[in-house]
Amino acid sequence: MQEHSVESLAEKSILYMSGVSKSFDGFKAINNLSLFIKPGELRAIIGPNGAGKTTMMDLITGKLTPDTGEIYFRHDIDLTKHDEADIANLGIGRKFQKPTVIESLTVFENLELALQGKRGVFESLLFKLDTEGKQRIEEVFDIIGLGAKSAHAAGSLAHGEKQRLEIGVLLVQNPDLLLVDEPAAGMTDEETEQLSNLLKRIQGDHSVVVVEHDMEFIRSLDTEVTVLHEGSVLAGGTLEQVQQNERVVEVYLGR
């Protein structure tokens, strides 16, 4: 009975994490964490510094492997058996907490590198940008702006612009699941609002997991919130619900 329900949960999820733990030198950064993301869902994750949010993303994307527990993508792909490049090609895109773009390449070249296609050494040597690819990049420019800075070195962008470019890199990749770590940091209010609209717009076609400290931003997403604390889920529900949860208040005030 129990088993059956877990299985159906796994089947309904695009991302399924169950009983996942990860320690660093005995310190449990992730502690028996279970999390399910439905296809097309937009999920916000909050939690105090050191709650394990980034570590969770490291585990999903193959940067780290869990000590125990299961992580499945599209119910049958065991992510713990794949590395970062594999996982990216399976359809999981990631934005880092610290905006990470290829600084000495231009904005355009950053997006071009992310275009879907064969990733082999010799394919890259012979690669020629086709009209389809150009179109895709144009589409993404329409979404993230920055079109005017297409030929600028990515390293010359402002912090918020780098955030937008990195989101653009994700969009070009067109992954089924986007993991977005603190995207609003360093963005102007206007940029933040645009970002929130963007994430709301792409849910449905994509599943999105977004980690953020900015509560206004989370509120604007208007979606289910999961609170992480000391490596496991502390509470879940709407933002109002979790904000009224006593333990959540304690955790946030107690620090």
Binding site: A88, T100, V101, S104, E109, L113, R119, V121, S124
Partner: protein, 374 residues
């Protein structure tokens, strides 16, 4: 077709166009000035100078190889001297076999040093080296294979940065110790020398010297074009991505280890070719070529010339080695200090090397005459 390819490679790249032109001009002029101009004329280039220039071009090719991996992909190899030396040894073995029975001991089967060591027969790994084609294959294969095996383990285990640099130093040091041993069968600390001819041409003749010089310049030009082809393709942009943000590149779905392995092996093969041209021109190869300092010197050439530009590496290698020739003549004991000083000055004041100086000078010229075109 071929011209078309070269044209697209060099399109909108003034610096490279100029570089290739100068190189080709030098490769033709120097032999002419040596062979056709009488010695009494002031513009005559002596055979000694031809050989010296040929040696510089070998170093330039080696620097190019290092710049490709360090400048573009961030792989700081401090062991590239090893690939250079291995290519040199492969060529040296062929040249030894060419000596035949003209050695001091007159043994038609064995090189002198083996006779001296009382060896009865040729070790198996010397088989085939009397064939030029086979030896040239080994010039490419031996460094390439070593780089492949080394890179396979290092890049898969994600050894990067200082750790990678240290193990490359260890690699060249270990090879040096091995090649110093007489039992290895490569001539011990004397190495391979006393070469007579190559493909039947007398190595001492001016014509052979000039041909070697010309071929070295030609290889440098071809290698340069190949490197340009790599760095201007998307492959080159992936390399830069790996240099700037390795993690990001992985999360874009690129297998970083494959890219590093490819470019590392390619670079090692170029280094091997450089070594193969070096040996017949200088007339000797010995285990000293494996010394870790040599590999560090290459890095200094590239840094002084300007990392990540390819032609900067070539300029750096030529200028520093010219300086070395001059300095070791005038104040031999000061050279290492001089080199270290240059490196410090370059890193502090010229982060983009001599190439950066050119750029500054050029942009100043451009701003000085803004209305010229209008």
């Amino acid at each position: 077709m071929k011209n078309g390819l070269i044209n697209t490679l060099l399109k909108d790249d003034k610096a490279s166009q100029r570089f290739i032109l100068i190189l080709m001009a030098v490769s033709i002029l120097v032999p002419i000035l040596n062979l056709l101009v009488p010695e009494s004329w002031p513009i005559h280039v002596s055979t000694y100078t031809v050989t010296l220039l040929g040696k510089y071009l070998c170093f330039a090719l080696l620097a190019l190889a290092v710049d490709l991996i360090w400048g573009y992909c961030g792989i700081l190899s401090l062991g590239h001297g090893a690939f250079f030396a291995l290519g040199g040894y492969a060529m040296g073995m062929y040249l030894m076999r060419q000596i035949g029975d003209r050695g001091v001991y007159g043994n038609p089967e064995l090189p002198d040093f083996m006779v001296f060591l009382n060896w009865q027969e040729l070790p198996w790994y010397w088989y085939g080296f009397d064939n030029f084609g086979f030896a040239m294959l080994m010039v490419l294969l031996v460094p390439g294979l070593l780089a492949f095996v080394f890179g396979w383990f290092a890049f898969r285990s994600r050894v990067t940065g200082v750790y990678l640099s240290i193990i490359t130093q260890a690699m060249t040091y270990a090879l040096m110790l091995a090649f110093f041993r007489n039992e290895m069968g490569f001539g011990g600390n004397n190495g391979l020398t006393d070469f007579k001819d190559i493909l039947g041409f007398d190595l001492q003749s001016d014509y052979t010297r000039c041909t070697l010089f010309f071929l070295t310049a030609l290889s440098l030009a071809l290698a340069y074009l190949a490197c340009i082809g790599i760095v201007k393709s998307k492959l080159g942009r992936v390399l830069v991505a790996i240099r700037d943000a390795e993690s990001r590149t992985r999360f874009m779905g690129y297998r970083v280890e494959h890219y590093k392995l490819f470019v590392f092996v390619f670079s090692a093969v170029l280094a091997g070719i450089a070594g193969a041209f070096y040996v017949p021109q200088v007339g000797i190869i010995n285990p000293g070529e494996f010394t870790p300092i040599n590999s560090i010197e290459i890095i200094i050439w590239v840094a002084i010339g300007g990392r990540g530009t390819l032609y900067g590496a070539v300029i750096g290698a030529i200028l520093v080695n010219y300086g070395k020739t001059w300095f070791t003549g005038a104040f031999p004991e000061l050279w290492l200090f001089m080199l270290g000083g240059l490196f410090v000055v370059a890193t502090i004041y010229l982060p983009q090397g001599i190439k950066g100086l050119f750029d500054k000078w050029q942009s100043r010229q451009n701003t000085a005459t803004p209305t010229a075109g209008a």
